[in-house]
Symmetry: C2
Subunit: 422 residues, 2 copies
């Protein structure tokens, strides 16, 4: 895409009321727009990153047999009364409204109830199970405080998967499979080295739930990390009995702030009992379905990456989720030959299926480089008057902060190496 | 996909309170689930169709230079007070709620205000214009009545594009370009023969707005169609002066019920004046931006197709938006050789990038065919014991209701012809 056509502009300062680093960077780079506290819109560059994260998650969910669907946001109170999750005393994040036709309506902050009810129409025999349904859908949570940028918002897309199994063993097997898929997702977006499977409190149906926590000073959670063993314990369950369970010693644990980037829960029959989701087993007996739920917020993941991968100049997107692979910057004093060369290279790169943001704007080189640093595309390719005669181009690896003088061919070779061709 | 793995089941009857044909068919075929009046979830088959419609629209919006973004649903009342669209007396479809941190919040039913405010951060000079921003995003409308299935819902995804131009001429040129893109979209989803560009009431800034109306007995609108001229007039503006404007004679008009599948509006400076979106022109003067808005609801389009393309047995999806291209049905009395053949064909077809729903379930042929008719995939390919010896397969063209005996090779040739290979 030509940057002269991209309508978003970078800005020097983030809004004064924005304290979080992720939102400051993403706002300044023109990735998001703040509507009000805890509510953001995604601008074109931000949406590109967001969609790439979504696609990584989708691929991994499809790999473990997930079937994608899309639930509604508007919620019928009657459904939630059956599971005792409608009253504001029980759940303090509801947004509720009135139907003009009469009656109340809620905005979904999670979808266990909806998922369970829908499956009543589709499950009758043991032959119908197991299966796994997931969605990317907007949740609404009436958070009292929202000050961490995209980390904790009042409106956000969540990937929520619900599993429906016949037996505890069948459930556990999928639960582990999903945990492995989550590990792959965090690896693909560049967070595996700082992300820990973390033991947290379970519920009526399991001793523990599992969080995936990314160690980061701006995180809202406190965890205790066993770096060698690649696991952690949430502060809420840091007890001797838990440590014994996990074979951990208190002295090997490091206290860290962390961001919860995903979680997985065993729900047992909590929802299938309350809402009557049963199946007939081989003997003809009615048995409640065993459920699990598995969440990841792509927006929070994007914010976490912006926290972890940034320097004083801006963001450093990992290639798998960068808005573009190459930032092509043309630097010329109205030299039409340099411009023509840059234009030609832009066309060749995009024709090869490489995603290029082409800075063709009439700005000074310094301004272009400041913008490029802030936006954080992995490779900057500079075509300039100075190197026109020799047809040399400058390639900057944004993450390594290394510049090499090179050739057009080398750019294509680099992209091929990185597997970025279509 | 193997149908034995697909968790959704078809059903003989739609819920009793569902009167619309589109919802009855889509519910029975397992494409959608009704959450409450006017609120539906999309199940896997429905989401596939929905996503294909979205992709058609996205391609056409990108073709005319649209830049995709994603606005938030939660709305700040202060913004809407400035355009006098917050009060329930002025706008009767608001869902409103309370922030737990204090203050009111609304659920976006359209996004002119948000779009205008965001652009204040990005527009300063005439060099920044024109541009076009669009999104696929969930709108909420507190409809008093919702009885037409997916036609009029309380929650629905809309593609809304907003144009930002410097002059009336620049605006008009894009307005026409967008109208042509809309015509292409309706053509690609199979509705062009029954869809009319329809003149409707304008606003302060233009004499007319334009609706795209699809003639259909179950439509909620009444229009007057000039079939030869491929245009129509909405009942609300059926006046002599309008007919004179358009060069239409009353006697050539046919009264028809129709579904509004899209609309385009010239907004003039209504929003840029109220919210202060201006640019500096070549002379340095501050000038308000000229705006337009352009909407299409992919869900309503899906419902319209289900109304237009159906028979007494079920839906007949046009190929461009069918959930799968081929419904492969294996009919065998536990004959493992037939099953192996079907399985092998399934693998070959999917390896060739063809989308196949493979009915591998242990059901009688009659049940499988009833399901296939209801689901409405364009081609049914039947592999049966009867034709095993000769390796013949049956191909049913669902729309033409024609069956031919053929070969595997013919199926591949047919798909290639239809351009369905990856």
């Amino acid at each position: 895409m030509k940057q002269s056509k991209l309508f978003t502009k970078t800005r020097k300062e983030a809004p004064k009321d924005e304290v979080s680093q992720n939102a400051q960077l993403l706002l300044r780079a023109g990735f998001i727009h703040k509507e009000m506290a805890g509510v953001y819109s995604y601008l074109p560059l931000g949406l590109r990153v967001f969609n790439k994260i979504v696609e990584v998650i989708r691929e991994e969910m499809n790999c473990i047999g997930g079937q994608e669907l899309h639930f509604a946001a508007l919620q019928d109170p009657e459904l939630w009364k059956k599971t005792d999750r409608w009253s504001d005393e029980k759940v303090d994040v509801w947004f509720k409204s009135e139907l003009s036709a009469g009656g109340e309506v809620g905005l979904g902050w999670t979808h266990e109830e909806v998922a369970t009810m829908i499956m009543r129409d589709h499950v009758s025999s043991y032959r119908d199970l197991p299966f796994y349904a997931y969605q990317f859908q907007t949740k609404f949570r009436n958070e009292l405080r929202a000050k961490s940028g995209l980390m904790r918002t009042r409106e956000f897309v969540m990937k929520d998967l619900y599993s429906f199994s016949r037996t505890e063993e069948e459930h556990q097997a999928f639960y582990e499979k999903c945990a492995e898929a989550y590990a792959k997702i965090f690896d693909r977006v560049g967070l595996s080295h700082v992300t820990y499977r973390t033991f947290a409190s379970g519920g009526a149906f399991s001793k523990y739930s599992h969080e995936f926590q990314t160690v980061c000073d701006s995180g809202e959670d406190t965890i205790y990390v066993a770096p060698e063993k690649r696991i952690a314990v949430n502060k809420e369950v840091l007890e001797d009995s838990v440590l014994k369970d996990l074979g951990l010693l208190r002295e090997e644990l490091l206290e860290r702030k962390a961001i919860e980037v995903g979680n997985i829960f065993s729900l047992g029959t909590r929802f299938s009992d309350a809402l009557g989701l049963t199946f007939k087993d081989e003997s003809g007996a009615d048995v409640p379905v065993i459920m699990g739920s598995y969440g990841i917020g792509p927006g929070r993941l994007m914010a976490t990456v912006a926290e972890i991968y940034s320097d004083e100049k801006g963001i450093l997107w990992p290639r798998a989720i960068a808005p573009f692979q190459i930032h092509l910057v043309e630097v010329s004093a109205q030299n039409s030959e340099t411009k023509a060369w840059a234009e030609e290279l832009y066309k060749k790169l995009t024709a090869a299926g490489i995603e290029v943001l082409y800075d063709d704007r009439d700005l000074r080189a310094g301004e272009k480089f400041v913008d490029a640093d802030l936006i954080g595309i992995p490779y900057r390719v500079v075509v300039s008057d100075r190197n026109l005669a020799e047809r040399k181009i400058e390639i900057l690896d944004r993450a390594k902060n290394e510049t090499v003088m090179s050739t057009e061919e080398a750019v294509f070779a680099l992209m091929q190496e990185e597997g970025n061709h279509v």
